[in-house]
């Protein structure tokens, strides 16, 4: 394997580059004024509610420094929860607590213990804007822990496997499943070593899997073959992702979904600048699909119609 590829071959493969994505898609189809809707998780949640898109249940919003003092009382009612900076990006500043031991010992997914003090410090960091874009003051949201379906969680090493669907003009055009690994420290970020599994838009069946941009067949930690993966309820998920277009008005977004054991598909967050690694996970370029949608003369009006169109057009 040589370590470089010629730009011509990349183009023939239809790979979308960073510059083209920024100028040709994000810049052209995403209206700046709608960015706060997706950059602020709290706003996204409220918006999703209006459009009947389910999200993990919101437990508390910490807005002021003095509210942190009461955090312990509130957390006492919860078993597992996730603390997120509302304006965080790239999964930064998200702390997931699986369960509680004793009065002020919290256990992370990795089995590490956190004291109540640590959590409070984390909250105050979030409020000060440590994780927000540009360091602006932020609010922290506390939501129910997502418990992924056993079918998916057995593939993942800790963490919650999530499904990233790129939605262009309301059409779900490409999808991948992100599985955390030991290397990624239980996080589902591909550049930290999580596994990306490309999913067939037509069926939710795994196509191809990569870790650190290299093709793999088995999960490095769980040792399970990736090709066995097939997402249930696939059409509902596509339609849900599709609906986010109506909700935000953004033409080019990444929709992050999880499959909860009891609640079914839930919207985790939206991303107005979805990454390009999804192409590597799928082993396919985004460009031909983007161009297919761009050349549609009569777009479909309902999310279900668009999902159906995408399934027949882009399915394997």
């Amino acid at each position: 394997m040589r370590s470089w590829i010629s730009p011509l071959r990349l183009r023939t493969a239809g790979i979308l580059g960073m510059n083209k994505r920024n100028v040709g898609y994000i810049g052209r189809y995403n209206d700046r004024s709608a960015y706060p809707l997706v950059d602020d998780k709290l706003k996204t949640k409220l918006l999703a509610e209006e459009f009947d898109i389910k999200t993990p249940r919101l437990r508390q919003v910490v807005r002021q420094q003095h509210e942190i003092g009461h955090f312990g009382e509130m957390a006492a009612e919860l078993d597992g929860f996730a603390i997120k900076p509302s304006k965080g990006s790239g999964g930064k500043g998200i702390t997931v607590v699986q369960r509680r031991e004793g009065d002020d010992q919290y256990v992370k997914a990795s089995g590490a213990y956190l004291s109540l003090e640590t959590l409070k410090r984390h909250l105050s960091n979030i409020l000060a804007g440590l994780y927000s874009l540009g360091g602006t003051p932020d609010v922290a949201i506390v939501e129910d822990l997502v418990r992924p379906t056993a079918l998916l969680s057995k593939f993942s090493f800790q963490g919650v496997p999530d499904i990233r669907i790129v939605v262009f003009q309301g059409y779900p055009i490409m999808a991948m499943l992100r599985l955390s690994t030991r290397a990624s420290d239980g996080k589902a970020n591909l550049h930290q070593g999580a596994v990306g599994v490309g999913l067939d838009i037509g069926s939710g069946q795994a196509l191809n899997a990569v870790q650190f941009n290299r093709q793999i067949l088995l999960h490095p930690d769980t040792g399970l073959p990736m090709s066995q993966i097939r997402i249930d309820d696939w059409e509902t998920m596509l339609a849900m992702a599709s609906r986010c277009y109506e909700a935000t008005g953004l033409g080019y977004i990444g929709v992050d979904l999880v499959l909860d054991e009891t609640e079914g598909p839930l919207l985790l967050e939206l991303n107005a600048r979805p990454g390009l690694a999804i192409q590597m996970a799928n082993g396919k370029g985004l460009l031909p699909r983007l161009q297919n949608i761009e050349s549609l003369k009569r777009p479909h009006f309902t999310p279900e119609q668009r999902a159906a169109y995408a399934m027949t057009t882009f399915g394997a």
Binding site: M1, R2, S3, W4, I5, S6, P7, R9, L10, A13, I15, G17, M18, N19, K20, V23, G24, R28, Y29, Q65, K92, E117, R121, S124, N125, A128, G129, L130, G135, Q192, V210, N213, R214, Q215, G251, Q279, M280, G283, K284, G285
Partner: protein, 506 residues
Amino acid sequence: MKQRSRYPFYLAIFLFIAGGIALATARHVKLGIPWLAGQQQAVWMVEARIDFEAVGEEVLVSLNVPDNPPGFRVLSQQAASPGYGFSLIEDSGDLRAEWSVREASGPQTLYFNVQLTPNEADNSNNAPTPKPQPEAVFWEEPEATAVAEVLERAAAKSASPESMTRELIKLMQTSDPDQNISLLLNSESYVPLLRRMLNHAGIPARVADGLKLEDARRLQPLRPFLQIHNGERWLTFHPESGQQGLPDDVLLWRQDALSLLDVIGGEDSQISFSMLQQTVPALQLATREGGQNGLGLLSLYELPIEEQGMFRMLLLLPLGALMVAFMRIIIGVRTSGTFMPVLIAVAFVQTSLVPGLIAFLSVVAVGLLMRGYLSSLNLLLVSRISALIILVIAITAGFSIIGYQMGFSTGMTVTFFPMVILAWTIERMSILWEEDGAREVMIQGSGSLFVAILAYLLMDAPLARHLTFNFPELHLVTFGLILLMGQYTGYKLTELRRFRTVKDFS
């Protein structure tokens, strides 16, 4: 989501780039601001010395001085003449220096200095001038017949005023002159004779005085040159060789005026010339006279010195920004903080590279260690950053003092780094370390340093410093290039590596 036409945008970029280059070229040509730093240019200092014997009455001395001589540009003119009133007078295209005094007696000496620089690009003397009437010339016999005969011979071999002049000079210069020519040469001095003969033939002609410029010569005389008007412009001929055109090292002191020197109230007047060549940085020359020209308005040399120093630095920033844009858009290097590299590069410019690099790395390293302790203190972000700023200042001061005690003045250079930027860099790096691991810190840190060093090398190049400050309009070009890069939708260089496995796709 309609896309607007891109043509006006590209047209604007083209106008920016073309405008910047055109303006810079215009200023280069008109003001002589050199493209390269450190270019030297010759400057001639010519001194005319006038000696005469005053007779005890009021004295008026009038000297013709060079006004727009071909091939040269006059930089300054001044007179040294104790006791005399002096003024430069322009009289129908004839520039004269005039000295006057109420009463003087005995030997008098007046000096007139002119500074000139060779100016090849000067085309002002090539502009067509209306053809003057040839002077009416009267000859007495037997010269009249001789002139008619010689002119007829020259005319037989020539077709234009130029060739006529050349033929005439050739005839007059033959080693074996015939009767007619000998007669003429004996009756009158040579160059005025040529002038009269050419005027007689209907070709306007005049005698100009030239001065051969040679370094460190004294008591040089003026040498006559013949000038004829060919209907469009004045042409200069060497009266002996008949060679057309003025040698590069000859300054035409007098062209248009009738007399070189008039002295009223004195006798025995003499004029002699001495000269000296100096080399002056071309830039100094250009800035000295820049203010007189409309294009000089753009010159930053008009500003007070203090502001100039600031602008020298500020005007380098666009180059750094250009470098960052290039490295991030075309190459795809990842940096921590978009323009942090530029600010580091600016600090490098002031500290020079190696001491700056050492200082930067040590401050950041020590800062990271201290930040580790701070993070265990559980502080709010704002006060943590504030504490970090104070720590950075303390580290800087520590380095300076230690460096100074050990005899390195380089320790002091740390102070050039923007403290707040350093503090934020440390904070960002530290968070990056905690969240993404040391590898990411290394990638982004070395990426930032790499871009900073490249930006520094670009900004520190003498040519870049020279061009940005002396041709601020070139920033239009930088601006255009940056806008153009904002349109680049191709792959980044690093993406060719990132997506290399695409080859294995079916």
